[in-house]
Amino acid sequence: MDLPAHSPSRSVLGLGLRLVVRMYRMHPLAASVAVFGAFLTAIGIVGSTVVIGWVTDNVVLPSFEPGSTIGLTDALWGVVAVACVAVIRSAGSVMRRYYAGMTTQQVERSLRERLGRYYLQLPMDFHQRSMAGRLIAHADNDTMMATHVLDPVPFTLGTFFLLIFAAISLITIDLTIAVIALLIFPAMYTLNRIYTVRIEAPTAAVQAGVGRVSSLAHESFDGALVVKTLGRAEAESERFNASSARLRNDRIHVGNLRAVFESSLDALPSLGIAAVVLIGAYRIDAGAMSGGDLVQVVSLFTLLAFPMRVLGFFLEMVPRSVVSHRRLQTVWNERLPEVRTAPSSERPRSSRASTLEVRNVSYTYPAVSRLDDDEDAEAGPRLIQTQAPQEILKDVSFSVAPGQVVAIVGGTAAGKSTLCSLIAGLTRPSAGLVALDGSDVIELPADTRADHVSLVFQESFLFADTIAENIAFGTPDRTRLDAAMAIAAADGFVSELPRGVETVVGERGVTLSGGQRQRIALARALYRQPGLIILDDATSAVDPVVEKRILDALRNQLDTTAVIVAQRLSTIELADSVVFLRKGTVAGAGQHGDLLQLPAYRSLVEAYEEAST
């Protein structure tokens, strides 16, 4: 069949069909029931037209003939036939609808489970180079769109059954009528196809317009205070009105297209019926068919109009689902690390401070890329590189003796956070080695690594769970929990919360300030009593007075080695020694007093001093 120029090409349709088959194979049981339901529905629909034809010929028309003997019994036979057909049709329809939905949902669930597994198990650099928003969209809209194509599949298959049954029943009635009918169905299909293809680009424009309007509103409301202080409310309204007007015009364009096609699609079966009636009259006159046959054909036309539309929905969904599935594929193209089943080389937790050795470590940050928004089904999603690979650390070496506190000092983009991540074994160095008590930190088993080395991040992340759970992850040891919170100076404000450590973070308006969140994140690290603790500017939002108390406690009450990224002079002065990072290399190491000889170091420290007054 000739399709308009930009209909999904054969290859996309092929991909879509393969996608459907692959998804159906994931959950064959529900899918089979749904298809069987569609089969029953098709039988029911054709059956009901046969019944109305039969009733016309054998009950209604004869009963009006003079001297007719048609009575209650015959009418009741009609009722029985109608009831049977209705039950088959309804049962089929419920089975099809419910199980088609179930298939889609089962596939969605499987896809999400798989995504979740990848998100949790892929190494950290995967998250560094992917935008969080994109990954969430994969689990939300993309998964939904990828499976959307499955929804109309049983009905579409049902339509094929229906066409076959309809053709059979037409041919048994009368060949001439059958030929006419078989010309009209393709015409309906083609009209449908043209409609779905023509409407695709304008619909996409509307979708884009909705996004544009909402991000404009978002931006404008975000800046409400600035808009007000500048008296720009009217200018903002103008901007918004222009964007809304474009959306309105796009919508009206879609509406015009729809009005044309909807009214044609409504009229076509009626015109077909008129043709059938005319030809039918000739055939009846010639004695080739009965009045009941004609009624049957007419009702078949009426009932077939909707299934023809569903076929259109299916074809419309194919390219979108293929594109969405490809987006998910970008995640699955990553290689999952092998999960070690047996705890290999499990070391007893060192109850004492660890030795840290950083040997010739280099690290290159992977390229960052995002998905191109203007993608088409055939080319598949394109990843656009937004940031080239960057060498962050170059040949960094230093060592820390047990129990020592080392401050890492450096300007913006010196590589401080990357260094922390490498020391904690979260990131594999491009070259070199980080050794904790003599063995490679990256080889520590993932689930117990935090017992040896704990990293507290600049941005404190809390789970939507109780404070106790956020610190201990699992049943807490009360003594250790209390001790950790005391050192982190979290005991005070937590005890004032409605339910103490059992308070759920973020629930019922329990919002914690930045400093409070940091203290809980700190307690999380301390709870594990690791041999090495790393604070990546982890007390920046804590009141300086409290910060000093925390660091003093860290020093005096715990037997632990500490690496602290310092932004305040008071923190630097607290450390035993300082590592000065500059553009990814160690520009100096030693005592703070000695390093002051370096001009670059001195000016940075002076700037810190200046900034804090």
Binding site: G116, E219, A235, A464
Partner: protein, 610 residues
């Protein structure tokens, strides 16, 4: 930089559950009342009534042509009396029907097109009115929680209505006309049969309502489950580093699994009711079909019905299930649309707290003297934030306001530039009551540099120009020079043409504040209100900011909300706020000697830095 009070400003905490606010309309308002108010707000709709009726009728006409054709063919074409078929009669009938169908199709097309246009115009007006209203609301209404709600009004709520216009609305227009039209044709053939059909479908109504209610509940549960699942995924993504650092992958995997399963189960439950709707209509159609068949055949003479009429009646019964099922399917989205409409209308109708007088008074240029008398203020809900504040600030003074979080200092500054009006008391700028000043004069006189250096997604030059529309490039260059920031502008990749990015994301926090300062310099206000940033700024930018603020302050009255010791030290006068009142006031060197709040704050500052 020393941060004395980090965290959220409780001045702007969300306040819930008040009747007369623009967020939570009265849910008990009935659908009819909403529609009446909606039509009042959008006069376009009134003119659409006839169009709507015309469209419903044209659709019904097209669809009813078929059963009538069947009836006529049987009764007049001679099919019923097994004699010869009257071919000319059938041909005439077919020609008439084709004409009717074509006419109906064209009418349908035209009316649908016009109607959609009307609906879109209405939506456009609703959306833009709501948007304009949001910017006229007092600043007390803009905080993080509220922002989300206000955003929903102009986006998702209007979209819910738009979706309804595209589908539900047409079904509401066509289905009732179709159902009534079919019943009318039945009644023409035989009114008792029409009554029988209507009676047979009656029991379906309560059943539909029951399914509907269950479905709404199921949908609610599903929406909640989707939210839970997405936050679970969001934890897995945004917490990726912590999850790996603490090896809690297994724990998170269990969380995810639970939320994915819950979403799956709730979705299936919602689907169950969806699957039932069409079937109910179908089964009742079978009952009505049987009733018509039995009665029609048994009592054909009493009913005075002909063969073709009975067949056509059976046909109609088969067709009538369609619009009934469709109508019951859109009930759900109708409820959503009415509630969305109610919310948007409520926003548009809510009163504006801060309205500018027209024409209003004008203050002369130059440094501003401030007279504040007995000022009290509270947000919609909650205690008084300011309680009887009186102060007079001579022109050209540099005042630093300090106080703990929640002391009312930020609110005080906002009232000074009339971002909200006080419940009691007055503010006079150069002797003119601020509420009587014209909007333009106020904007020229008072300029606030807010803490969040929000920039629009435009070039930096344009962002500066927003400070005074119509300013020339020379004016901007002059403002830059005044603050001695030429070196900074030169360092930008494209100078003033550099794009600021979304919300100014291409610049650092400190740099965004620099832009805000240049913007203020361009406006050349007599009163400058500075809300100092609490977030950390790198040392270099910090030095630039300090210098720029000093230069900008010269020759103006300046009120700074100070978070840093240096700002307080440099001011002419320090005003200490505590629990909505002025607790202390005086120059820094005097206050430091006095035992009190300021001394305590000062100790903390010193302790933190040394």
């Amino acid at each position: 930089m020393t941060v004395v009070d980090p965290g959220v400003d409780p001045d702007l905490d969300p306040e819930d559950g008040v009747a007369s606010n623009p967020y939570d309309p009265d849910e008990s308002e009935g659908a009819i009342s909403v529609i009446r108010r909606g039509i009042a707000a959008s006069p376009e709709l009134k003119r659409g009534v006839w169009l709507t009726a015309a469209m419903g009728i044209s659709v019904a006409l097209g669809q009813l042509a078929v059963p009538v054709l069947v009836q006529r063919t049987i009764d007049q074409g001679g099919l019923s009396d097994s004699g010869d078929v009257d071919i000319p009669a059938v041909t005439r009938l077919v020609v008439v029907v084709v004409a009717v169908v074509l006419f109906a199709a064209v009418a349908n097309w035209r009316t649908q097109r016009r109607l959609l246009q009307r609906a879109e115009e209405t939506l456009y007006r609703l959306r833009t009115d709501a948007f304009a209203k949001v910017h006229r609301l007092s600043v007390a209404d803009h905080n993080d929680t509220r922002k989300g709600i206000l955003l929903a009004r102009v986006t998702s709520d209007v979209e819910a209505l738009a979706q309804f216009v595209q589908w539900g609305f047409f079904i509401w227009v066509t289905s009732p006309v179709l159902i009534l039209g079919m019943l009318a044709v039945l009644a023409v053939y035989s009114w008792p049969l029409a009554v029988v059909v209507a009676v047979c479908f009656m029991p379906a109504l309560p059943l539909f309502r029951w399914v509907q209610r269950r479905q709404l509940q199921a949908n609610d549960a599903h929406r909640t489950a989707v939210g839970t699942m997405l936050s679970s995924f969001s934890e897995a993504v945004t917490g990726a580093a912590v999850i790996r650092a603490y090896g809690v992958q297994t724990r998170q995997a269990e969380h995810l699994q639970r939320s994915i399963d819950l979403r799956y189960r709730t979705k299936l439950r919602a689907n169950r009711y969806m699957a039932l709707v069409f079937v109910i209509a179908d089964l009742f159609a079978a009952i009505a079909f049987s009733g018509v068949l039995v009665l029609g055949v048994m009592f054909r003479d009493q009913l005075g019905i002909e063969a073709g009429e009975l067949v056509a009646s059976l046909f109609i019964v088969l067709l009538i299930a369609g619009p009934i099922a469709q109508l019951s399917e859109v009930l759900d989205s109708t409820q959503g649309a009415v509630s969305a409409w109610r919310k948007v209308l409520h926003l548009i109708d809510s009163p504006v707290d801060v309205a500018d007088p027209v024409p209003g008074l004008v203050t002369p240029a130059g440094p501003v003297a401030i007279e504040v008398e007995d000022l009290s203020f509270s947000y919609r809900v909650g205690p008084r934030v300011l309680d009887g504040v009186s102060i007079s600030i001579p022109s050209g003074t540099n005042v630093a306001i300090v106080g703990e979080t929640g002391s009312g200092k930020t609110t005080f500054a906002k009232l000074l530039c009339r971002l909200a009006d006080p419940q009691e008391g007055s503010i006079r700028l150069n002797g003119v009551e601020i509420r009587e000043m014209s909007g333009t004069s106020r904007l020229d006189t008072v300029r606030m540099v807010p803490q969040d250096g929000f920039l629009f997604d435009a070039s930096i030059g344009d962002n500066i120009r927003f400070g005074r529309p119509g300013a020339t490039d020379d004016d901007i260059a002059h403002a830059v020079d005044l603050l001695e920031l030429g070196w900074w502008v030169e360092r930008l990749p494209d100078g003033l043409l550099t794009e600021a990015g979304e919300r100014g994301s291409n610049l650092s926090v400190g740099e965004r504040q620099l832009v805000a300062l240049i913007r203020a310099a361009l406006a050349d206000p007599g009163l400058l209100i500075l809300d100092e940033a609490t977030s950390a700024v790198d040392p270099e930018t910090d030095a630039a900011l300090t210098g720029a603020i000093q230069r900008l302050s010269a020759g103006r009255t300046v009120v700074s909300i100070a978070h840093r010791l240096a700002t307080a030290e440099a001011s002419d006068c320090v005003v200490v706020f505590d629990a909505g009142r002025i607790a202390q006031m005086g120059p820094h060197h005097e206050l430091v000697q006095e035992p009190g709040i300021y001394q305590r704050l000062h100790q903390a500052w010193i302790g933190a830095t040394r």
